[in-house]
């Protein structure tokens, strides 16, 4: 690490203590959870002016529990916690399981956290794309207020989430598991351990015999923030699933010009996002089995 002007590394034992530190050192303190992103940022000299790290490992944010509001994940839940928890093998949450599992490598998955993946505000990370597809909400607290936001609204631009310097993202809330609901995540990268060139998260709710009750598709790396493709919902909701319908939709997405990036041209991203969408949708439907499709 090259954060040479770091003056202290706090390890608070309670959330209040962490919030107080962020409040007291506002602007010069940064939250650290797994530390993977912080390491990358500091290596690139992008943490200028940061003099304190506040480690939230021990403030009690590593829980996964279900209640009547939904499935709650503490922000410090690691990717391997998600992979190893049987609840995410169910079709409703499968996209999140795949996204977490697909992150390389094992050592990163042991430390990288779900909260950190959102707070990075990077549009092509896999876990946030899956969370947006699953209609996840996030709880953000500061010393004197608490708010709940849709995860997609937390993204603004690279490394700059819509979260203030004295706020902590404490919890991700997923909707309760639903009948006949399935989800999937897919990505394409130039190597297995690369970041995604394009990735997609899909969630589908069916209603007997393949009638689409609700559908949501989210793409990463197409726009600077996770891109919810409205054409998918517009063209597919209320219709019966069929190869013709999928082909028709593939012609209509993505409905925006993909951003240029160093690794993939907009032309390539446009082509590959269609195929990824098709394959992810089929992967999701396969999870439900034949009787529902």
């Amino acid at each position: 690490m090259v954060q040479y002007d770091l003056k202290d590394y706090f390890k608070p034992k309670a959330l209040d203590e962490a919030l107080k530190l962020l409040h007291d050192y506002k602007g010069s303190a940064k939250i650290i959870a797994g530390g993977t992103l912080i390491h990358e940022l500091s290596e690139r000299n992008l943490l200028e002016g940061i003099e304190y790290y506040v480690d939230i490992e021990n403030v009690g944010l590593n829980y996964i529990k279900t209640d009547e509001d939904g499935l709650h994940l503490g922000a410090a839940v690691t990717f391997n916690d998600i992979v190893n928890s049987p609840v995410f093998r169910q079709p409703s949450y499968y996209a999140l399981y795949l996204a977490a599992k697909g992150v390389s490598s094992y050592q990163i998955k042991n430390v990288a956290t779900i909260g950190g993946s959102i707070c990075s505000s990077i549009s092509f990370l896999d876990v946030p794309i899956a969370l947006v597809a699953l209609n996840a909400k996030a709880k953000i607290v500061s010393l004197n207020k608490e708010r709940i936001e849709n995860v997609e609204n937390l993204f603004s631009n690279m490394f700059t989430p819509n979260i203030a310097e004295d706020e902590i993202l404490t919890e991700i809330i997923l909707p309760l598991q639903e009948e006949k609901t399935t989800s999937y995540h897919m990505k394409i990268g130039e190597k297995t351990f690369s970041y995604a060139l394009v990735n997609v998260g899909v969630k589908v709710k069916l209603e007997g015999n393949g009638l689409i009750n609700d559908i949501r598709a989210v793409f990463g790396n197409i726009q600077p923030t996770p891109f919810v493709e409205s054409n998918v919902e517009k063209l597919m909701k209320g219709k019966f699933i069929s190869d013709e319908l999928i082909n028709e939709v593939m012609n209509e997405i993505p409905s925006v010009e993909p951003i240029e990036s160093i690794k993939a041209s907009p032309w390539y991203k446009r082509k590959v996002s269609k195929v990824l969408f098709r394959d992810a949708l089929k992967g999701a439907l396969n999870l439900l089995g034949d009787e529902n499709v």
Partner: protein, 161 residues
């Protein structure tokens, strides 16, 4: 430059160590430069190659991007801590017997990855073995033999628990 030293307590390979560190020091730096344990290697320093892998509280982590301050009070195992009484750990023995070593630079990291994995799963499938090695690169292609070495190691462990 003003230094802001902090004192931390680590249990490294079963031995308690009290170390003064800078708040930004990585665990790798502390192990190599302050404690003289050169098993973990500094490869990419970026969380990509796996040469710095050590086991912290039973989990394999990249020590290059693991803050030393985070490791305060935790148990750390490096490749130096595997052999007992001059006898190699079954995984080390199996890596030699299966010819899974060429230049050897990546091996301390690779061994720690699979060591951590076998702590919780003694019967991994082929896919799980590959998953355990997913964060370790080997440029001499000895990595091709790591799964074979792992299976041999598991056999040794069962024969001689």
């Amino acid at each position: 430059m003003k230094m802001y030293k902090k004192q931390i307590r680590l249990i490294v390979n079963g031995r308690e160590e009290i170390v003064e560190v800078n708040p930004y020091d990585s665990l790798l730096k502390v192990l190599r430069e302050y404690l003289g344990l050169t098993g973990p290697k500094r490869g990419c320093d970026y969380g990509g190659c796996g040469n710095c892998t050590v086991v912290v509280n039973g989990k394999a982590v990249y020590s290059c991007m693991y803050p030393a301050m985070k490791a305060d009070g935790k148990e750390i195992t490096t490749v130096e801590g595997l052999s007992k009484g001059g006898k190699l750990h079954p995984i080390q023995r199996a890596f030699i017997d299966a010819n899974a070593v060429q230049c050897g630079y990546c091996i301390p990291g690779a061994i720690m990855s699979i060591y951590a994995y076998t702590l919780k799963n003694q019967n991994p499938t082929d896919e799980e073995i590959n998953e355990a090695f997913s964060g370790n690169l080997c440029r001499c292609s000895a990595g091709y033999y790591w799964p074979k070495a792992t299976k041999l190691a598991l056999k040794y462990m069962k024969e001689n628990p």
